[in-house]
Symmetry: D5
Subunit: 95 residues, 10 copies
């Protein structure tokens, strides 16, 4: 099932190395999600630290487990929107 996820990152100011460590862990974790076909695409809302992600997971429970494992999760304000396949794209479900 597909989801549109808005992730507003409010990571506080912290020592540079700590911030870099978390950022690298986040990047690596995101790549794993791409490899598993869970994170399909990630965009940046310009002028902000908010990302919009196109995710695919079995259901909202798996999605929650995936999102709550983000290294930045403690500082994230996340809203999830369930997506149904559009009739025009029924055959195109999986590019």
């Amino acid at each position: 099932m597909e989801f549109l996820v808005r992730q507003e990152n409010r990571m506080p100011v912290m020592p540079v190395e700590e911030a870099a460590r978390i950022k690298a862990a986040e990047r690596e974790y995101a790549q794993q999600l791409r490899d598993r076909g869970i994170l399909r695409r990630l965009w940046r809302v310009p002028g902000t630290r908010t990302a919009i992600g196109w995710y695919e997971a079995d259901d909202a429970t798996e999605l929650h487990d995936v999102l709550s494992a983000l290294p930045t999760f403690p500082w994230q304000t996340i809203t999830v929107e369930a997506l149904a396949t559009h009739p025009q794209e029924q055959p195109l479900q999986r590019e």
Copy 2:
């Protein structure tokens, strides 16, 4: 997967028999959804013609097909919220 669905019904005034026919069809269709385990529970928002339904479907695409087949769908303003299983209720998924 579970969903919380808010269904605001704005059925216009129409001939009494027509309205009764649609209402009966809606009642019958809802019962079918209960029998299929899709409609788990339906409440009324007091003072309104809005219902809140607890639904269970494979994914949002199946949910959309189910909702768009409601006899009152043309007059419904519907909002869908995806629900993840709460950690406290993991074992209770299916009563």
Copy 3:
């Protein structure tokens, strides 16, 4: 009477043991509410620490007493929505 209750948990960062103690107390308290037929169902809003609960209590005063006794109550932002029994479910009031 039935209620839909949205519980947004903003528990601050605290020592691990303290957080675990509160979480365990919350889990135990929730189970007591289930046993008393007050907490009928609890879901997680994916990507958040917000729960949605289907509660049943004599009235809003009893519900308030129940909610304000939650171990996490000091950090909860709660909204309560009164639910009327839907005409379709009049006979099914108590599963």
Copy 4:
């Protein structure tokens, strides 16, 4: 149980006698509700045709039945807020 009910009346323009008939029926019905102890108080939001009512009913289901029997119900946009008894007024529940 007590409720605060906001009733926004959007009765369309109609023949004067028809409007007067409905208004009289509404006034009479409201008086019955007062006599039954259901309608405790009714205020007008100044500059509008919106009323705010303090109601008391067994639960939201009874409240819904009462409100949906209002002669003006088809043109009302109603929001209901559940009220718990304030600790300061526990003994004053029933004036």
Copy 5:
């Protein structure tokens, strides 16, 4: 003149005795307002520390003086709604 007043109390965590002292002062002050016919009724919004009060004062200036003298005023977020007497209750103005 009558007012509907929503009082969201965000009193921070403080030493137990201090909190109890303020709460007692608030209770006593509220009782004085009842005795003066200013505080007509007080309800609790379930699941929150918000109260809804039905007040009667000469005008908004007197109401402001009354509210700003609440011991908890520094931590209150208050919204005031002016109420007009409903035509149905013209004769019942003063119970």
Copy 6:
């Protein structure tokens, strides 16, 4: 008592003479309110047909009677805000 009143006028398209008649009646009525010291000042929200009025009336009930007698009342969406006298202007209450 003073009020800030936002009056959004949605008068539909109608025969020119009818519209002119209502506009003249509104202008005349407004002048009467000025003469009675009830309408203190009226502004236009630029780009709209919305007016903001500074009114003074005994209470919200009198204000409602005044506003509901506006010739354009059937097409007005009105919001009323109660105003308290600012401490800095206590002596200036009546210019």
Copy 7:
């Protein structure tokens, strides 16, 4: 440049053939946009007639020309959100 576009379709009730003609034209036009790499993906918001589209165009002016040529444009309420490429996906710009 990439955009997230929310398209709320409020096509009124019309003769079946007319509705079918417009729907077919819309489907064909959408396919052309896919072939031109402008419409990257289209989802359905479950329970509604709203679609969310991932579009790619030179700029907002080209996007407007594309959207305003939709056969259903006269009945669409559209909101457009500009998307920046996320640092994690810089190299993946074009799948």
Copy 8:
């Protein structure tokens, strides 16, 4: 003085010649405003019939007169935001 003006155009469907006549009148009128230095710039909100205009007028009263003379004014929903000159652009006030 400078203003940012959002003009949402809800011109109903009308005979083609009538719509073309109004559109031409609007285009001509806008050009006059440019020539008078009142309309500094006009943009389109993509996917909509809403325009955002940067206007300069003596004050809000002149701006209102200018906007209410738009041929499409009867169908426009307009919001006006007053703009102050930014300290960085004090010398650049008039390009």
Copy 9:
């Protein structure tokens, strides 16, 4: 030009003398603005520390300079609404 200005004061708790000093400076400054015809009237929103001011300034730039010189400006959340002279009050512009 006239403006309606909403000033939400969130001055933090501070030493009594410091708060009194700022309040006195604010009172004095406000009186200067009255003497210059800039501050025409100031009201209190009951139950809050928010003031609503009717201001008159050459334009929004002068208004900004006036408001940003308020001793409490660092703690103020201010919204400004431009006001056009109402046709009914054209001759009354300056009382």
Copy 10:
């Protein structure tokens, strides 16, 4: 491509020299953006520390890079609105 950017600056209180240094850096950086044709115009929302900017960049990604390099970026709450060229201004794209 053109953008309307709302920049709400919440720079905390800091040592005077530090604040002056950042302000100077911001002024210098803004001038560079003007010289590059990226910052076309900047206005102040009166009574606030919010600026509204008219920007022009290749796309939202370039705009994000420009905005996130603002010395005040860590304290900015920014919203970006994509602008399409209005048909009336097609030929005037570049003044």
